[in-house]
Symmetry: C2
């Protein structure tokens, strides 16, 4: 299937792990969490139980650091049969605050690509997660000048994208989405008739993983975000 | 100072404690929290310490239930000098989940007012807090059909309002905001040259309280949201 980019007027970017590092910080926090609880269970078991807890709480808490911290605390109490110390719980709260205060680390090539594309396209950010967190990261990133619009969605499903494009008066055939998650940034976009470019990040959260067989074509995968410039210009 | 409503084309509504009950649930949770910790301190002291903790964490956590729960847990550890049981911490987590799962209770007159006004005005919702929480409440409220646009802001300051009106292409003189918080819904609106109606809710969070002397005029106060219909039609 040949992909045409001639009609594209608006380019949308995912933020976490597309513009800047994010998942790495969650993986680091999970490792620290496992270390805090190492007297109760193996790292592997702790990882699994925490993930289960996050999935159970996802509908209630949504995405973002705060819900993650609440799930870590609940998990710590469960995994230790209620024996976990308040010092450990304070340690978990501290892990969360550390994550929120992290500096924003831009991914390779991002600034160059935004600068180039902003001359010929309308650029927008479509991200998922905690509103305050995302606004803070955008501000710290120094990238906001490149974007016409920044939208924080509670979910990234076909319906969310369809409503947003309609609201912003963007036709699907004029829209290209760039992101690291096949599940959130690529497949729903292809399904609503827009274009997508997949820029994999080295780490993907299990919840965001899909099997390649779900790949229904119609999108391009690049190793570095810079490659977009080759076919979009 | 006479207020003119002839130019108004768009009416904005705050959500929490303007369209539906919210603050009451926080006050109830605070009372339950104080009861959980009653062996360590008086209710008054617990209230004060929790509020201090919330203010310390506000920049990091923002508004909403999840940050509130994290502050309750941190406060419980502090107030008990680390002696609080994991059963009590589980109780706090449960309080939070209860709050998130609460049904939406519309305030008196709201539906009638929205139905009337939606015939002649463009109605929007401008609310603060957690994105997922607010979307969920809007969905449960059954009110979304009345609104052209729903915006969740991380803060409600003059700049946030100015940017949003610009983005939605609404002139300040065509805009009227309706809300229960002088600090968030009324004063910044008056300061950017738009109109505001204050509909006090019986409970106001200390953080949202302002002294009446800060009242610089230019807005109207009503006891029930229905009164808007008298001067807006």
């Amino acid at each position: 299937m040949e992909i045409k980019y001639d009609n594209i007027k608006v380019v949308g970017f995912d933020a976490d792990d597309t513009l800047w590092v994010n998942e790495t910080y969650f993986r680091e926090a999970e490792q620290k969490f496992a270390r805090l609880l190492s007297q109760y269970e193996t790292e592997n078991k702790i990882d699994q139980e925490l993930f289960k807890m996050e999935m159970e709480n996802l509908d209630l808490y949504g995405y973002g650091v705060k819900g993650f911290v609440l799930s870590m605390i609940e998990s710590a109490i469960d995994l230790s049969n209620g024996k976990v110390s308040t010092a450990t719980i304070s340690g978990i709260l501290h892990l969360g605050k550390e994550m929120i205060a992290k500096p924003v680390e831009l991914l390779d090539g991002v600034e160059e690509v935004l600068e180039e594309l902003s001359r010929d396209y309308r650029l927008i950010v479509l991200t998922k997660g905690d509103l305050l967190d995302q606004e803070r990261k955008m501000e710290r990133s120094g990238l906001s000048e490149y974007f016409h619009h920044i939208e924080v969605l509670s979910e990234k499903k076909e319906e969310n994208y369809r409503n947003l494009l309609e609201h912003l008066e963007i036709k699907p055939e004029e829209f290209l989405m760039v992101g690291n998650s096949l599940k959130s940034d690529v497949l729903p976009i292809v399904n609503i008739g827009a274009q997508a470019v997949h820029v994999p990040f080295h780490t993907t959260w299990v919840h965001e993983q899909v099997h390649e067989s779900e790949d229904n074509g119609g999108y391009r995968t690049v190793n570095n975000i810079r490659e977009i410039l080759r076919f979009l210009k």
